[in-house]
C-alpha cells in the first residue's frame, strides 16, 4: 500500500471521525432551536420564509401530516422538474441550444432527481442546458436530500419522545444552516482546484495535432459541491466524478469523498444527543463504520492485485486500471467508490462495470444494506429499522418483550418495519426478474456472461436504494428501463420512509416503561455485534442466490481465465 493511499484514506476517514461530533452537535442545536453561530445572518431570512408559508418555528405535525407535507412538496418538485426539462428549449442560459427532452427522459430524470437517486439516462454535457443544470437539477440536489433529512429528524424526535416538528421548518433549516453554507465552501475549493464555474459557452479548442476539441464548461463547481454534500450523485457530465472537469485532482477526490459523508455520519451522532444515548450512537457508528471498512478492503485489494487474465500478459504493474483515472490511483479511487456506495451518493470516480467481481460485490453490499451511514436522515432510518428488527429477533430468542429506548416494540411496529425491510429486496428481485424474462429488459445488456445479470440487478438495486450509480454498460436509455427504474425509485423512496415515520409516531404514543436490570441493553459491543450479524444474515438470506449467479460466478470464471464473447 503506497504512502499516498494511506494518507488519502487517513484524511477521509479521520476527517469524518473528527467532524462527526461537532457537526452532529451543531445539527442537534439547529433542530432543537438553540442558538448557533449562524443565527445572526440567517434567522431574518428564515423568518421571512416562515412568515410567507405561514408556519412558526416551534409548530409540530402528526406523522401523517408530516408525511403528506413531504410527499406533496416532492410532488411539486417533480411536476416542476418535468415541465422545465420537457420545455428546455424555451429557457435562457442555453448557449449550446439543446432542445426539449423527450417525455420518457423527462419523467425518468424528474423521478430520479426528486427521489434523490440521481440515476442518469443521459449525458449532461450533450443534453442539458446550463439552466436545466443549475435551476432544475442543482436545485433538486439541494432540496431532495434536505427533505429526506427532515424526515430523519422527525423520526429521531419521535424516538426521543418529542413532537415530530414541522416539515417545512426542518426542510428550510437543513438547507440554510447546513447544506448552503457547506456548498459555498466546497464549491470555492473545487474552483480553486480547477473545476470550471462559468456561464460562458463551451470551449472550442484548436489542438496541437490540428484537430478541434470542444470542452464543456458551465456552472459546474457549485453543482459538484451539492451533488456530494447531499449524497445526490447526479453528475454534470456523463463520466461524473471521473471526468477531470468535475474531479480534477487528488484533493478534489478527497474533498468529494468527505463531502458525501459529512452530514449522514453527523446524523448518527445527532440521534445520540436527541435520545441522550451517545453510547448507542457510537455503537451504531461502529457497526456502519465496520461495514464501510469491509467494503473499502473488498474494493481496494482485488483492484490493486488486478485482473488475472490481463496480468498473464506480463505488462508492468498489475492493478486493474480499466475504467480508472491515473491521478487518483487505486487508493483514491477505492475510497471514493466506497463512500459513494456507503453514503448512497451514486457519483462515480471510475467505471463500475469494469471493476473486478469482488469489488462489485462490495458495491452490491452498499446498495442492498442502504444503511452504511446511507443518505442523510434516510440512512439513519434504515439503520434504526435494522436495530428494531434485531431487538425483535433477540427478544424472540430470549423470550422477553422487546424494548427500544424504553418503548415496547409490538406487532404494529414490527409489521411496519418488516414491510420497510422487505420492500427493498422485493423491488430489486422482482424488477430484475421482470427484466431478465422480457426481451426489452435483456436487450439492454452490454457485457456477456454473469456481468450481464449484474448490470440488470445493479440498475434495480441502485434505483431502489436511491443511489443512482450504474454499471454503465446497461442501456438505461431504453424505454423499458426509463419507466421501470423510474417506478422502482419512487416506491423505494416513499414507501419505506412513510412506514418508518409511522413506526416513529407509534413508538412516540406509547408509555415509557421503566428501565430495569432486565432490560436488554442496546449500547454495548455485544449488541453491536449481534446487530452486525443480523444485518449480514438477513441480507445474505435475501440476496445470496442472485449474487451467486452474478459477481460470485464471475469471480470463479475469472480465476479460471474464462473469457466471454
Amino acid at each position: 500500500m503506497s504512502v499516498s493511499t494511506v494518507a488519502t484514506w487517513a484524511v477521509v476517514i479521520g476527517g469524518l471521525l473528527i467532524l462527526l461530533k461537532p457537526l452532529g452537535t451543531y445539527l442537534y442545536r439547529v433542530f432543537t432551536f438553540q442558538p448557533t453561530i449562524l443565527d445572526r445572518p440567517l434567522k431574518p431570512v428564515e423568518n421571512v420564509i416562515f412568515r410567507l408559508i405561514g408556519v412558526s418555528r416551534d409548530s409540530s405535525m402528526s406523522a401523517v401530516e408530516y408525511g403528506v407535507a413531504f410527499m406533496l412538496t416532492n410532488l411539486v418538485w417533480a411536476v416542476m422538474a418535468y415541465t422545465l426539462l420537457r420545455l428546455q428549449g424555451l429557457w435562457p442560459f442555453n448557449p449550446q441550444h439543446f432542445g426539449n427532452l423527450s417525455a420518457g427522459l423527462s419523467f425518468n430524470t424528474a423521478a430520479s432527481f426528486v427521489t434523490n437517486t440521481n440515476w442518469q439516462a443521459y449525458s449532461g454535457e450533450n443534453t442539458m442546458s446550463y439552466f436545466s443544470q443549475f435551476a432544475v437539477l442543482q436545485f433538486l440536489q439541494f432540496v431532495t436530500p434536505a427533505s429526506g433529512g427532515a424526515v430523519g429528524v422527525a423520526f429521531v424526535r419521535a424516538l426521543a419522545g418529542r413532537p415530530l416538528g414541522n416539515f417545512f421548518v426542518d426542510l428550510t433549516l437543513l438547507i440554510t444552516r447546513v447544506l448552503l453554507p457547506l456548498a459555498v465552501i466546497f464549491g470555492l475549493f473545487f474552483v480553486a482546484q480547477g473545476v470550471p464555474d462559468t456561464l460562458a459557452g463551451y470551449l472550442h479548442l484548436h489542438t496541437l495535432t490540428g484537430a478541434a476539441q470542444t470542452v464543456p464548461r458551465g456552472p459546474i463547481a457549485g453543482f459538484e459541491a451539492i451533488e456530494h454534500l447531499g449524497q445526490n450523485g447526479g453528475g454534470f457530465t456523463g463520466a461524473n466524478s471521473a471526468n477531470p472537469l468535475e474531479n480534477p485532482t487528488a484533493l478534489t477526490n478527497i474533498a468529494e469523498s468527505i463531502a458525501m459523508g459529512l452530514v449522514p455520519v453527523a446524523f448518527f451522532y445527532m440521534f445520540g444527543l436527541f435520545t441522550r444515548r451517545t453510547r448507542l450512537a457510537w455503537t451504531l457508528i461502529a457497526v456502519a463504520g465496520t461495514l464501510y471498512l469491509i467494503m473499502l478492503a473488498m474494493i481496494y485489494f482485488p483492484e490493486a492485485a488486478g485482473n488475472p487474465i490481463v496480468n498473464q500478459l506480463g505488462l508492468l504493474g498489475h492493478a486493474n486500471m480499466v475504467g480508472k483515472e491515473v491521478r487518483f490511483g487505486i487508493g483514491g479511487t477505492s475510497i471514493f467508490e466506497t463512500s459513494t456506495m456507503a453514503f448512497t451518493t451514486g457519483s462515480v470516480a471510475a467505471a463500475q462495470d469494469s471493476f473486478l467481481p469482488v469489488p462489485s460485490l462490495a458495491f452490491f453490499l452498499g446498495l442492498f444494506l442502504n444503511m452504511v451511514f446511507g443518505g442523510q436522515g434516510v440512512g439513519l432510518l434504515n439503520m434504526l429499522m435494522f436495530v428494531i428488527l434485531t431487538i425483535f429477533l433477540m427478544g424472540l430468542m430470549v423470550g422477553r418483550t422487546p424494548e427500544f429506548l424504553r418503548k415496547k416494540i409490538e406487532a404494529r411496529e414490527v409489521s411496519l418495519t418488516a414491510i420497510a425491510f422487505l420492500l427493498h429486496p422485493l423491488l430489486i428481485l422482482a424488477g430484475g426478474a421482470l427484466a431478465v424474462s422480457t426481451k426489452a429488459g435483456l436487450s439492454g445488456i452490454f457485457n456477456p456472461g454473469p456481468y450481464g445479470l449484474s448490470e440488470i440487478l445493479y440498475a434495480f438495486a441502485s434505483g431502489a436504494a436511491n443511489n443512482g450509480s450504474a454499471m454503465g454498460g446497461l442501456n438505461a436509455a431504453l424505454p423499458f428501463y426509463e419507466v421501470a427504474i423510474g417506478v422502482v425509485m419512487i416506491i423505494g423512496r416513499y414507501a419505506s420512509i412513510m412506514a418508518m415515520l409511522l413506526v416513529g409516531e407509534s413508538l412516540l404514543k406509547k408509555k415509557a416503561v421503566p428501565q430495569t436490570t432486565g432490560t436488554m441493553r442496546t449500547d454495548t459491543a455485544l449488541f453491536g455485534g449481534i446487530l452486525l450479524g443480523a444485518i449480514v444474515v438477513l441480507n445474505a438470506l435475501t440476496f445470496f442466490p442472485v449474487m451467486a449467479l452474478g459477481p460470485i460466478a464471475e469471480h470463479y470464471l475469472l480465476l479460471a481465465h474464462h473469457l466471454f464473447t
Partner: protein, 200 residues
C-alpha cells in the same frame, strides 16, 4: 391538504430563488473574483488561440512524433462512432473483466506500441497505458509510460533521447502537498513543451 399544498408551492418558489439563482450567482461571482483562470476552464493559449483545457486530455495517439495518452473509449454523441477524447461525451468503455473485447483491445494496443517503438518489450509497458480510462479524457500517464515512448518520439522528432528524458522529468507532477495522488505526467502539457522545443 390544500393548505399544505399551498405551503409546498410557496416554499418551493422561495427556495428556488435562493438555491437556483442566489447560490449559483454568488458562487459564480466569488469564483471569478478569486479564481478567474480556473473558473473559465483553465484555458491554455498559444499565440492568442485557445489550444487546451489544462485538465482535459486530448488525442495524440495517431501522431508518431508526440507522446500518447491512455486509450479513450469515448464515442461521438452525434454519430455514435468511436471518437477518442471527445469531451462532449465523456465516458468509459464499460468492458467487464471477462469480456473478450477487453483483452482484444489490450492486445492491439500492446502490439501498436511494440511495432512503433524501437527496442520496447512487453514487460516495460505500464498496464495503465494500455487500459482505457473512466472519463475517456484522462490527461495523465505515469512517468514510466512517458519514458518508454522516448525511443519512438526521438525517432520521429530527431531530438535526442537525453533531451526528451529531461523534458519528461521537467513535466512530472508530484503528488499534491507531497503525498496525495500519483506521480504523473500531463500528456497535453508534455506535448506542448515538446512542440516548443521543436520550434524554438
Amino acid at each position: 391538504m390544500i393548505r399544505t399544498f399551498k405551503r409546498a408551492v410557496i416554499v418551493t418558489a422561495l427556495l428556488w430563488v435562493i438555491l437556483a439563482w442566489g447560490f449559483t450567482f454568488l458562487l459564480l461571482g466569488l469564483a471569478h473574483l478569486l479564481f478567474p483562470y480556473q473558473a473559465d476552464g483553465s484555458v491554455i493559449t498559444w499565440h492568442g488561440r485557445a489550444v487546451a483545457s489544462a485538465h482535459v486530455g486530448q488525442n495524440f495517439n495517431r501522431s508518431l512524433q508526440y507522446f500518447w495518452g491512455r486509450p479513450s473509449a469515448t464515442v461521438s454523441p452525434t454519430t455514435g462512432k468511436p471518437s477518442p477524447y471527445d469531451a462532449l461525451n465523456s465516458g468509459p468503455s464499460n468492458l467487464g473483466p471477462t469480456n473478450a473485447v477487453l483483452l482484444d483491445q489490450i492486445h492491439r494496443t500492446i502490439a501498436r506500441y511494440l511495432a512503433t517503438t524501437p527496442g520496447l518489450s512487453v514487460h516495460q509497458i505500464p498496464i495503465s497505458l494500455v487500459e482505457s480510462s473512466a472519463s475517456g479524457l484522462d490527461p495523465d500517464i505515469t512517468v514510466q509510460s512517458a519514458l518508454i515512448q522516448i525511443p519512438r518520439v526521438a525517432k520521429y522528432t530527431g531530438l535526442s533521447p537525453r533531451e526528451l528524458r529531461d523534458l519528461v522529468y521537467r513535466e512530472v507532477q508530484g503528488p499534491q502537498l507531497g503525498v496525495f495522488g500519483v506521480r504523473r505526467v500531463n500528456v497535453v502539457t508534455l506535448n506542448w513543451a515538446l512542440y516548443r522545443l521543436l520550434h524554438r
